[in-house]
């Protein structure tokens, strides 16, 4: 399947295995080959979340977006969440991952926090998915 980054990927909705919207594609991670090798770059991951969107937008607005989102990031994470492309099972009309939302703690951290502390604080975060 041949895709256009602009038309088919960037800013497109990403859902988990249960079709729950969790993020949008804000950038793609690629590995470039050595100069002169004739090889094609490989797309290694989808970069999700507001932090990546802020970097892509740039300027003062983008910097504020990226900074605010980075504050919610796990300290062990060095940048915005990246989902490997081998976790993608569908691309059109929206991207579907092979994992369920609870199995993607690095994605949509604000939503995870809200689930644990606001939506179901008495029942526990795990049971909020039932």
């Amino acid at each position: 399947m041949r895709l256009s980054v602009n038309l088919d990927l960037l800013d497109h909705q990403v859902t988990d295995a249960e079709k729950l919207p969790i993020a949008r594609v804000d950038d793609l991670e690629i590995s470039v080959p050595e100069d002169g090798s004739g090889d094609e770059p490989l797309v290694t991951g989808l970069v999700l979340g507001t932090e990546a969107a802020g970097h892509r937008i740039g300027g003062r607005v983008g910097a504020v977006m990226a900074s605010a989102s980075a504050r919610l990031r796990d300290r062990a994470q060095s940048g915005p969440p990246i989902v490997a492309v081998d976790r993608v099972e569908q691309v059109r009309p929206f991207l579907v991952l092979t994992d369920a939302f609870p199995d993607l703690p690095q994605v949509a951290r604000l939503e995870h926090w809200l689930r644990r502390h606001v939506v179901a604080p008495d029942r526990g975060g795990d049971r909020a998915d039932q």
Partner: protein
């Protein structure tokens, strides 16, 4: 590297002269109906707007209007910009590092010849 770093990047020939700008990237994604993709995703090619490009043509490219189905008064403008667009296979890029990509202009072909 991020895809966003490719978009808007200049393409220069071996002599250093700029001849195009990257406006889109095509990716081959072997995603089957089952769980998980069947193989690596690769960058197949680059959609280029020839340099120099007017601001209006650049806007048409960046909004995707030159590749999407466009109706109404923008259609002839989008088709005109699309007719100027070029497609460069990723394997024909000699250098990916640096401020500009390096590739020979003769390697690019009209975008309309490419069946996406």
């Amino acid at each position: 590297m991020r895809i966003s770093e490719l978009l808007g990047r200049d393409v220069v020939g071996p002599d250093g002269a700029a001849w195009a700008t990257v406006v889109d990237v095509h990716v081959d994604a072997p995603v089957p109906a089952g769980r998980g993709s069947a193989g690596p995703w690769s960058v197949a090619g680059l959609v280029l707007a020839p340099a120099p490009t007017s601001t209006w043509t650049a806007w048409l490219h960046f909004t995707g209007l030159t590749q999407a189905r466009v109706a109404g008064p923008l259609r002839p403008l989008a088709r005109g910009a699309r007719a100027q667009a070029r497609y460069l296979a990723a394997r024909d890029v000699a250098r990916w590092s640096g401020e500009a990509l390096v590739a020979e202009p003769v390697r690019a072909r009209p975008l309309e010849e490419v069946d996406r």
